[in-house]
């Protein structure tokens, strides 16, 4: 029964993928969209059933299908593990997945390759589910690379534009750098404990060692790649080249949180590697701040959201670094709600403006698109940490944890939060308030999107509002639910004292401050960001993302390409010349030797006589 349920869970999206691949075109757009959505919805229902079961019994379900890879001291099964963590993850993966599928039916309706889009989305959900429910690291790795592949396919969905293809390629390759880290981590763990199975591993891991720390570090590199942390974050902003639902699903809500999932899953490993935890916290904090600063000045609506995602992911890693896994998970969930909502809202805006993404050409959309506006407003409030929206609780918990462990990182995180509030409301003011700054024709066509788009928005907005209820300070359902997973009883149950309330107040004030600055700058003073050429000074540095892409290009990509050219033009020809050299030398010897053959019989005979004499004398003397 459990096996069947698990298989149903995994294979329904895969079936959807197959149907859309082979018959999608003939089925027509609506049908293929419906099939895609249904496939994910069925998974969602199955997840609900499973969730119900696990929540009541409190026990995980393990399903083993068959042996997959045999290595001398490792036996790797293709198996699934459905426990609290994975089912929780599945809930929002399939839940938000279904909503986004639904949304896409309308959003992608004009695209000729809609069936392909849905097949990729279904494939993505399939791999994401595999990632989440795999019972060992290698099955996770299938999903891990699989979602990377789908991300590649979907970023480059409009494949006629080579820039988009570049972005897709970049995403895949950067992910692969992380994947190598993950693989190495697996190797180390595999050779240390002879297993990659979570359950076995949990009992096997007992004490920290340098090697274990190295493994944890390698695994974290993997997480960096997938979850867009320094130094591997640059692909995520570029990944916005894909259609907006993709950005919402893959690059905000689900795939990018895979790194956090993995770290949470292996919490028992990371708990023993304290140094690595520090590294994680520091990198998370820095990423969070760096991305937030870049987000301050971006003018592309999706870019702002992308940097915001990176920044929020940084905050989650900050929490992970302190061992507060449930806090990170909590933020993953609330973030999934409001960030998906924001992306879908921005998609709705872009859809309404026929592809315009530059905020400088928007404005005043509040009246034309009220539902979009209100849902996005709610989500912005949530992400800014305004009290009683979901983001308030989760972000506050993170900062609280940070405060308890390290004041500097707390300060960094807080500054990032203030910035978040600022750029989100900058986005809101520029997009929805004041006058419309686009062309007359666009203005003419302004309209609220259809119900297939607005319904998911509304649902997500509701979730973004109330999502915080699952883990109220002092009375956290989530912590209790997840507690079987963690070895250390840490983080969750804060005693709500004066410090905590003060911190909460500071956080709220910070958020409000950010909103206020945005209000003054973009509403009161009615500033509109300068066009690209006129950006100078610090803004220019921020606007150009600290030139990190350029630095990578110059330090890594260019040298490799140069090396490739050098190898091709010089080393290859050099070795070839060396090999040919043998032939040449032989030829030369023959050519020179040819000259001895003068053709003069006299000479031959002379030499013959000398030789004869020599041989005869030798034989004679040798006696």
């Amino acid at each position: 029964m459990d096996t069947n349920l698990a298989l149903l869970l995994v294979l329904t999206p895969f079936l959807g993928f197959l149907i859309n691949v082979f018959f999608g075109k003939s089925l027509g757009k609506t049908v293929s969209g419906t099939i895609g959505t249904l496939a994910v919805a069925i998974s969602f229902i199955v997840t609900l059933v499973l969730f119900n079961q696990i929540n009541s019994t409190g026990k995980g379900i393990e399903v083993t299908l068959f042996d997959w890879i045999q290595i001398s001291n490792l036996k790797i099964n293709l198996g699934f593990l459905l426990d609290q963590l994975s089912v929780l993850w599945l809930l929002f993966v399939t839940g938000i997945g279904s909503l986004i599928h639904l949304y896409s039916i309308s959003y992608m309706h004009d695209d000729e390759n809609m069936h392909k889009f849905f097949s990729y989305l279904n494939l993505f959900v399939f791999f994401m589910i595999t990632l989440v429910i795999g019972s060992n690291l290698l099955v996770l790795f299938i999903g891990w690379e699989g979602v990377g592949l789908c991300s590649y396919l979907l970023i480059g969905f409009w494949y006629k534009n080579q820039d988009y293809n570049d972005a897709a390629k970049k995403a895949f390759i950067m992910n692969r750098i992380g994947d190598l880290g993950l693989l190495i981590g697996m190797f180390i763990i595999g050779s240390m404990f002879s297993t990659l199975d979570y359950a076995t591993l949990k009992t096997a891991v007992s004490e920290g060692s340098p090697l274990l720390s190295l493994a944890a570090l390698c695994l974290f590199i993997g997480a960096c790649g997938k979850s867009a942390q320094i130094p591997l974050y640059t692909w995520l902003p570029d990944a916005m080249a894909g259609p907006t639902p993709v950005s919402a699903l893959i690059h905000a809500a689900t795939m990018v949180t895979a790194g956090i999932f993995m770290v949470t899953r292996l919490n028992f490993v990371f708990d023993l590697a304290v140094d690595v935890q520090t590294v994680i916290a520091v990198i998370g904090a820095i990423t969070s701040l760096l991305a937030a600063t870049i987000g301050l000045v971006q003018n592309d609506i999706k870019k702002v959201l992308a940097y915001s995602t990176v920044s929020q992911l940084g905050l989650m890693f900050l929490a992970l670094g302190f061992g507060a896994y449930e806090v990170a998970v909590f933020h993953v969930i609330t973030h999934a709600f409001f960030k998906a909502c924001l992306f879908l809202g921005s998609g709705s805006v872009i859809h309404g403006l026929h592809g315009e993404q530059d905020m400088r050409k928007m404005g005043g959309l509040r009246k034309a698109m009220p539902i979009t506006f209100w849902t996005m407003m709610i989500s912005s409030l949530a992400i800014s940490g305004v009290p009683f929206f979901s983001g308030f609780f989760s972000k506050d918990e993170i900062l609280l944890t940070a405060f308890h462990h390290s004041i500097p990182l707390y300060v960094v995180g807080s500054i990032a939060s203030v910035m978040t509030a600022f750029y989100m409301f900058r986005l809101m003011f520029l997009t929805f308030f004041k006058e419309f700054r686009g062309t007359e024709e666009q203005k003419h066509h302004l309209h609220e999107s259809g119900s297939l788009i607005t319904i998911p928005l509304i649902i997500l907005a509701i979730l973004a509002t109330f999502g915080g209820l699952i883990s109220l300070p002092g009375n956290s359902w989530l912590n209790e639910y997840l507690s079987p997973l963690f070895t250390k009883a840490e983080g969750g149950e804060h005693h709500l004292g004066a410090t905590e309330y003060t911190l909460m107040g500071v956080a709220v004030l910070g958020g409000l401050l950010g909103i206020l600055i945005a209000y003054i700058k973009y509403f009161k003073q009615n500033n509109v960001p300068e066009s690209d050429d006129n950006i100078i000074g610090l803004s220019k540095l921020l606007y150009d993302k600290y030139y990190i892409d350029e630095i990578y290009e110059a330090v890594i990509v260019k040298p490799i390409n140069f090396l490739s050219k050098f190898f091709r033009d010089y080393i290859e020809t050099g070795i070839a010349a060396f090999v040919f050299g043998f032939g040449k030398v032989t030829g030369e010897i023959a050519f020179q030797g040819k000259k001895i053959q003068t053709g003069s019989i006299g000479l031959y005979l002379f030499v013959f006589v000398i030789g004869l004499c020599a041989i005869v004398s030798y034989l004679f003397l040798a006696q």
Binding site: V21, F66, D67, W68, I69, Q70, I71, S72, L74, L78, K116, L138, F141, I142, W144, E145, G146, L149, Y152, G156, Y159, K160, Q162, N165, D166, K169, F172, I173, R176, I177, D179, L180, L183, I184, F187, I188, G190, S191, I560, N561, L563, S564, K565, F567, R568, I571, E572, I575, A576, F578, V579, F580, G583
Partner: protein, 479 residues
């Protein structure tokens, strides 16, 4: 029935193909190759049932050379690879017109015969004969039916021929030396030979030269890219899909067990060479302008990893190497076939002249993409199983080997996706590109099916090869 049946079928097939005339040749060849495949599957069945399917007969008395064909799991796996790829290769050529087709297809079957013989032979000299015999058909195939400027082609092919022949000569010397020592060419006698570590080193090096050229391991690879480019695609497939594996297989079968001390002592050097090939091949592949050359360098990178895995002398390394050999055989044949499909339509192999194919041919794009992904070892493809096992075994020797060898997954993705982007994506090309025909589709589908099936369920192959690899390892570790 024993394994000699396969060889006889192939040999008869070669003659029958030659006699059947140009029109029928391709079909007759396909028929015989399928018959050989069927026969080998039957034999596999018998083998699994515990039947002895080896074959032994006297051939020459002085010096003692025995017609010994030994079929253990490893040999059968390699023969199956050969015989599964041969029909695919023959079938994939159905879209092309070859002049003097009867000789062409007869040569293909003859090559399959020689290669299968190499994988089965258990007598040093018999093995050597098969090894060299395989060189003859590919020489003619590349020379006569190749493409590009005839003079340059001749140069490349002759270089290849002499180069590999020269390498093999050292192997022959080693065999003769071993014969002096043991009085026999038989595999088990050679395994049992008592050799000092100095002798082993020389024998190891002599074998290494032959295999390093065939595989090829850098810096012995210079023949490869040019021959791959100049040979007709069928020839390239035979070379890269099967013939490379002869070298890799021989490392496992002959080199390591006969000279284990040398292998152990210089383990790090040879692994490093393999890994250097991985990195070097990947980097050179980045900037190739010719599609087939790019694939050739990618092949160089992959076989480097396989070789590195073989030289680890661990069960994982050997097993991963064999798995990767089989996977690579299929994927590289698929990729070269894709290059051929493009060539049939665009009449070019220059990457810069392609682009925008995806718009016109979604099916081909999907198939090509799957092959590209398999080539970069995406999990759930067969290649991942092999690559993971090999990298794992490398990590057991030294974690840095795994890190450096693992760069293949980054660099591999880089050059393959770059190539895919330039070839397939972008704005529509001015030239029309018809989507894959039924014949082409079948070839692709078979290859992809194999790759995906074994990607999830490699157990049959693992179970088949593991006992013989354990035997080899026990010989290696005998003292």
């Amino acid at each position: 029935m024993n394994v000699s049946t396969i060889l006889i079928i192939l040999l008869i097939g070669a003659f029958a193909t030659y006699l059947s005339g140009d029109k029928l040749a391709s079909k007759v060849a396909l028929l015989f190759s399928l018959a050989a495949l069927g026969c080998s599957i039957l034999l596999l069945n018998n083998y699994n049932a515990g039947e002895n399917i080896s074959f032994i007969a006297n051939w020459i008395n002085k010096p003692t050379i025995v017609l010994a064909l030994n079929a253990d799991g490893l040999g059968i796996a390699m023969v199956l690879l050969t015989l599964a790829l041969t029909p695919i290769i023959i079938f994939s050529s159905f879209g092309n017109e070859y002049k003097n087709a009867k000789s062409f297809y007869a040569l293909i079957l003859f090559m399959a015969f020689a290669m299968a013989g190499t994988f089965l032979a258990a007598d040093g000299l018999l093995y050597y004969v098969f090894w060299e015999l395989a060189l003859v058909p590919i020489y003619f195939i590349a020379l006569i039916w190749g493409n590009g400027d005839a003079e340059e082609r001749r140069k490349a092919v002759v270089k290849f021929f002499i180069y590999t022949l020269a390498g093999s000569l050292f192997m022959l010397t080693a065999f003769i030396y071993l014969y002096q020592k043991t009085g026999s060419f038989l595999l088990e006698k050679l395994y049992a030979a008592e050799l000092s570590s100095n002798e082993q080193l020389w024998i190891f090096l002599a074998f290494f030269l032959a295999y390093a050229i065939k595989i090829p391991i850098i810096p012995f690879h210079t023949w490869q890219a040019n021959v791959y480019q100049k040979a007709p695609t069928v020839g390239t497939m035979l070379l890269s899909g099967i013939m490379l594996k002869m070298g890799l297989y021989s490392v496992l079968r002959w080199q390591l067990p006969i000279a284990p001390l040398a292998a152990k002592e210089y383990l790090n050097i040879f692994i490093s060479l393999g890994i250097a090939g991985v990195i070097y091949g990947s980097i050179v592949a980045l900037k190739q302008k010719d599609l087939k050359k790019l694939l050739a360098y990618s092949s160089l990178a992959h076989v480097g990893l396989i070789a590195a895995g073989s030289y680890t002398l661990t069960l994982d390394g050997l097993r991963g190497a064999v798995l990767q050999m089989i996977a690579h055989g299929f994927v590289v044949v698929g990729l070269f076939f894709a290059a051929e499909v493009i060539f049939r339509r665009f009449e070019t192999r220059e990457i810069s002249e392609m682009g925008g194919i995806r718009i016109q041919s979604p099916k081909f794009t999907s198939m090509f993409l799957i092959l590209v992904l398999a080539s970069v070892a995406l999990p759930s493809t067969f290649n991942f199983v092999g690559e993971f096992t090999v990298l794992y075994s490398l990590s057991q020797i030294n974690i840095w080997f795994a890190v450096l060898g693992g760069t293949t997954i980054i660099l591999g993705a880089y050059y393959m996706l770059k190539m895919f982007q330039q070839v397939m994506l972008g704005e529509a090309n001015s030239k029309t590109f018809a989507d894959v025909s039924l014949n082409e589709g079948i070839s692709f589908a078979v290859i992809i099916a194999v790759l995906l099936f074994f990607g999830f369920y490699p157990k049959p192959i693992t179970d088949l090869i593991t006992p013989s690899l354990e035997t080899i390892l026990s010989v290696i570790n005998k003292n």
